[in-house]
């Protein structure tokens, strides 16, 4: 049903200059702001980042170890598991689309290997997925788009469900969970990887409220997105590794590197 996909791709390449021009003022102001940072601010920021970097690298060391162990155990169990996704970094164009459609445009397109359905993350969680690619740019549907759903599981107990968008300024919704299901306020929801579109284990959001009033078939569960949907400028596009088999074999064979 995608007869018009190529047409749209060509047309978006045509309108890309206008989109870039529209994002110019805010790009320029950002650039000016960076240019005129004073030395002291930069130094402070640098120290801050170094501290964050240090703590992150310490955590990464233990994570590496755990990851190996996890892979070996899964290998023993005979299950395949996607891990070690590679990512590409893209920037969101500073333009306003229709505020009700909950989409953004990023500055990487087909030329960088972006494809339709590719998961988009920011530093804190899942943002959405690529809806349309053209030569130089692509459109991303955010989680809050009313027609978007993402398969998730509760991190605490593995309960699976689907989170859907509810539009501008509204929280996400956890769909079709019966009244007696084990879910609490504050539960972290991560991607379940079912459906094969999103990689496993990335944070989607936290449960804000659970309303199980009698008379309703399902609980009314509101979810706050983990990603900073409104403020992020840089996004990560995930390229899923095919399966653990391809990665784990050379790594196990090569021993520790």
């Amino acid at each position: 049903m995608n007869f018009f996909s190529p047409v749209r791709s060509v047309l978006s390449t045509i309108v890309y200059p206008i989109q870039t021009a529209a994002s110019f003022p805010s790009d320029a102001s950002k650039w000016m702001g960076e240019f005129f940072h004073d030395r002291k601010q930069l130094k402070e920021k640098n120290t801050q980042l170094e501290a964050i970097n240090l703590s992150n690298s310490i955590r990464l060391q233990t994570l590496d170890d755990l990851e190996r162990e996890n892979m070996r155990l899964r290998e023993l169990l005979g299950s395949s598991f996607r891990l070690h996704e590679r990512v590409k970094v893209a920037e969101i164009l500073a333009i306003d689309l229709d505020p009700f459609s909950q989409q953004v445009v990023i500055d990487k397109g087909e030329r960088y290997g972006i494809f339709v359905g590719q998961p988009v993350l920011d530093a804190t969680g899942v943002m959405g997925q690529v809806k349309q690619v053209s030569q130089f740019s692509s459109q991303v549907v955010l989680l809050t788009n009313p027609s978007h759903g993402i398969p998730v599981q509760v991190n605490r107990n593995g309960l699976r469900a689907v989170v859907t968008g509810r539009g501008l300024g509204k929280p996400l919704q956890l769909e079709h969970l019966p009244q007696n299901s084990d879910i609490r306020v504050g539960d972290l929801l991560v991607t379940s990887g079912l459906g094969g579109r999103f990689p496993v284990g990335y944070p989607v959001g936290r449960v804000m409220s659970v309303d199980s009033s009698s008379g309703q078939t399902f609980s009314d569960i509101k979810v706050e997105p983990a990603a900073k949907l409104a403020t992020s400028r840089e996004v990560l596009l995930v390229i899923a590794a095919d399966s653990v088999e391809e990665i784990i074999r050379p790594e196990l064979a090569g021993g520790d590197e």
């Binding site: 309108v15 333009i95 509810r166």
Partner: protein
């Protein structure tokens, strides 16, 4: 000479539509972005009203198609909406020209409302009452748009 003039007129019109498209895309603070008027629609309405022989239904359809792609909406929805609006203005341009400003603004309000109605019929987003704000802001900004575009038209002798 006459050919040259027409070409220049077309250029000015296309340029004003591009500026309107930029205004549609430029990021605004959250408090005002919901009030963003339908700039491209307004520009199309003005040029159709003032110089009906320059703007055709197919031209506005093409503009709408490009806007659809730019805004990431359903392909063809804005194309159809703009074509419809321009058709209506073409039918009534002689009357609309004679209206006093407030009555013109009311007509603009109706036309933008019609455009938004088409959106509501075809797309399902939980937008609520805030969805209708652009019709209001388009009506309020119409006198400004009219004055600016008329001075542009007189400066560049678009007839």
């Amino acid at each position: 000479m006459a050919v040259n003039k027409t070409a220049q007129g077309g250029g000015v019109i296309v340029l004003s539509i591009i500026v309107a498209a930029l205004l549609t895309l430029i990021p605004l603070p959250d408090q005002v972005r919901l009030f963003r008027p339908e700039f491209v629609g307004l520009v199309l309405i003005y040029w159709t009203m003032a110089t009906p022989h320059h703007i055709g239904i197919s031209f506005s359809w093409c503009v709408g198609l490009l806007m659809d792609v730019m805004l990431g909406g359903t392909l063809g929805l804005l194309a159809f909406s703009y074509a419809l609006i321009v058709y209506l203005v073409l039918q009534f341009h002689l009357q609309i020209r004679q209206y006093p400003m407030w009555q013109q603004a009311l007509s603009v309000f109706t036309l933008v409302l019609l455009l938004q109605l088409l959106f509501v019929i075809t797309e399902s987003h939980g937008a609520g009452w805030r969805f209708w704000l652009p019709a209001l802001s388009s009506m309020l900004i119409w006198p400004v748009m009219y004055t600016v575009l008329r001075s542009v038209r007189h400066t560049f002798h678009v007839r």
